[in-house]
Amino acid sequence: MTSQQNTSSQGHFPAGGRAFPHRDLVSIGALQTHEILFLLEEAEQWVHLNRQPSKHSDALAGLTIINAFFENSTRTLLSFEIAGKRLGADVVNMHAAQSSVKKGETLIDTAVTLNAMRADAIVIRHGSSGAVGLIAGKVDCPVLNAGDGQHEHPTQALLDTLALRHKLRERGEASSDGMMTGMVVTICGDILHSRVARSNILCLQALGASVRLCAPPALMPAGVEAMGVEVFHHFEDALSGSDVVMMLRLQNERMDGQYIPSPREYRHLYGLNQQRLALARPDAIVMHPGPMNRGVEIESDVADMPDRSIITQQVEMGVAIRMACLDVLTRKARKIPGWGEGEWV
């Protein structure tokens, strides 16, 4: 089914499927900078649509999207579900907690089963790093990674970048080429267990930003300097000169043993409050991928600062980015001109 879509990104990017020559979205690491920019650009039309009273497109009408979540999720699942529905697709959610996974079926067999049901796209979250890539190799339709273990969460990084770009644009500080060259972004929190951090490092660096990581040593992955980031253990040092502060929560459910003495002590050293935020650049932007633990990694008065915190905008952009990813990845199957089989490879 062809659709009358806004094609605002045409002209700035390679034509047709060459703009995004991937069947799946498994990792930011697999993307080129211009491909990231393309997805961000494509999301703009959906940001616009989502702000209209009627938020419906029929771009994906007739398509079936399966959200297969092998790990609990509320916001990401909801965001993908809304994205699919606003595009007119039939969206089905599979919760692993109630599925045959509990009956001993292997991941591959589950994937083959979903494939046999002729899904047009499968969105997967799984607790093991690499699991989504493994499934992607066994099914015939596009696979979108909604988070795999501690590896990547690509749509989160894209939505974070989109939210940041919108805030900068609002302030008249956005670069015309869409890049974030020279910006300093500090990511503070449980980096070790965070797929959000890994995807964001890759995404922000691809767009020219420099990334600082801050965490106690036990929550900082070994050798992360090799990814081109600056490593800090004292939050105050990391904040100095930062344009953006992205806070992560403690992923207690992933911790195998004790990594910090107590949440209270963590807050004492790493909680973002007004005094600490004042150490960053004036007007520094505050981000958090959620869910927030108010009073642990972030104080309420910081989280709710209207001109500084873009935490709710991140959620808004999440829907738009996921619409863009679903749209782009299903173009080949929908035979959009320039995206069809053999048209560009």
């Binding site: 991941l107 093991s128 790093s129 890539g133 990547e152 992955p221 990814m227 043993g257």
Partner: protein, 409 residues
């Protein structure tokens, strides 16, 4: 099956402890009858056509008895790890395992050090020895309790048995599936610092020294731990060290794309450690190279990386990978066969692994140059989980005798 007639292998290059010599080898009544003597009437003559005539390989520390794979790799004896189901921690199981390969393959069971390999209660080691166990092994995991380890080593010293240890500090290693560093961080895999090995090696060496026991560290894979072994050997501790080809052929870069065939225990290490392993093979710090043969089917390997079982089917590629070290000038041919045959045989105390008059006639004829391509789909092993899939290799066994009886390859 007994050897029927004497066999004379002519035209070969014999790999003897003293060097490679062009000579005739005679096998009679299951033993090596003579090295360098001339043919006798009634000899069945085999022309080796310039190939190497070497001792059959002795594979110290395998997880499955997989005869076709062992025979393909020129392996005539293997020491079986106690990590079986049920574990080899009981005399009757050891006795059964000791008979399980005969006549054309000999299994030397390693007695499980502790009941259920749980690391707390000593198993009946002397009874297992009398049932055929050639050494004691801690299994896949470390004995965390230093008191238990000391008592084990003291007991082993009294029985004059070697303790084969898996040296990886359990507290640090935890649920790790990779070595801490850039690769594990990029992939988001649970990881442990390489020092987990050095800590365990240091403790095991100290306790072995205290107990006066013989210790074999089945796999030493890091620069720091190898240095500890080197120092211990220099001061006369009875410690030997082994490794499998994965750790000198591959670094943790092989984990890319979450390839579960590269999931090993201990995990693959960064390149500096791989180089340290090669250096340690060259300078004699490492005594044994074994296959760690552990065939694993798709139900164990076609999983997300951290959920997959560790281990590789290594029997078929063991010799070819060791021969790369000869071609690279790290070691000479005599030493290659010391690593895969003579040294492991000596540790197990079996009369094999060397070409010497009177030794068991376990002989492999090897074409060290013959090229082939490792193909996981066409392996002899029970499963094709090899990290060397589709790699070119050189060196193939072309004929094999166990106790003077030819084995069809």
């Amino acid at each position: 099956m007994k050897q029927q007639a004497p066999i004379a292998i002519t035209g070969g290059r014999l790999v003897t402890p003293a060097g490679v010599v062009e000579s005739t080898l005679r096998l009679a009544e299951g033993r090596i009858a003579s090295v360098g003597a001339s043919l006798e009437d009634g000899d069945e003559v085999v022309d080796a056509r310039g190939q190497l005539v070497a001792p059959g390989l002795v594979d110290l520390g395998v997880f499955a008895i997989d005869k076709p794979a062992f025979h393909f790799g020129g392996i005539t004896r293997a020491a079986l790890m106690p990590d079986q189901s049920p574990p080899l921690d009981f005399p009757s199981r050891v006795r059964f395992a000791a008979q399980s390969g005969k006549p054309d393959f000999w299994v030397h069971p390693l007695a499980g050090a502790t009941v259920g390999l749980a690391g707390s209660q000593l198993a009946e080691i002397a009874l297992m020895r009398d049932g055929g166990a050639r050494a004691i092994a801690t299994g896949r995991s470390w004995i965390a309790d230093s008191g238990v380890m000391l008592r084990l080593l003291q007991y082993a010293a009294m029985l004059d048995m070697v303790v084969v240890s898996h040296a990886e500090d359990g507290g640090l290693a935890g649920k790790a599936v990779a070595t801490a560093g850039e690769m594990a961080t990029r992939l988001g895999l649970p990881s442990a610092p390489a020092e987990a090995e050095a800590l365990a090696v240091a403790r095991d060496i100290d306790l072995a020294e205290l107990a006066g026991a013989r210790l074999h560290l089945r796999q030493v894979t890091t620069a720091r731990a190898l240095e500890l072994v080197r120092q211990a050997k220099a001061r006369g501790v009875a410690v030997t060290a082994g490794v499998t080809p994965a750790h000198f052929m591959l670094s943790d870069l092989a984990l890319a794309e979450f390839r579960t065939f590269a999931r090993m225990s201990p995990p693959l290490r960064p390149e500096e450690d791989r180089q340290a392993v090669i250096a340690a093979i060259g300078d004699g710090t490492i005594d044994v190279v074994s296959s760690g043969h552990d065939p694993r089917g798709p139900e164990d390997k076609r999983l997300p990386f951290a959920d997959a079982a560790p281990g590789m089917a290594g029997a078929e590629t063991l010799l070819a990978m060791v021969l790369t070290l000869v071609r690279d000038g790290v070691i000479d041919m005599e030493r290659a066969f010391a690593l895969v045959a003579a040294n492991p045989a000596a540790i197990l105390g079996v009369d094999a692994g060397v070409i010497r008059e009177g030794a068991e006639a376990d002989i492999a004829v090897v074409d060290p140059e013959r090229p082939w391509v490792v193909d996981s789909r066409k392996m002899e092993a029970q499963a094709g989980n090899t990290p060397f899939d589709r790699q070119p290799a050189q060196g193939r066994v072309t004929a094999l005798w166990k106790g003077g009886v030819a084995i069809a390859l």
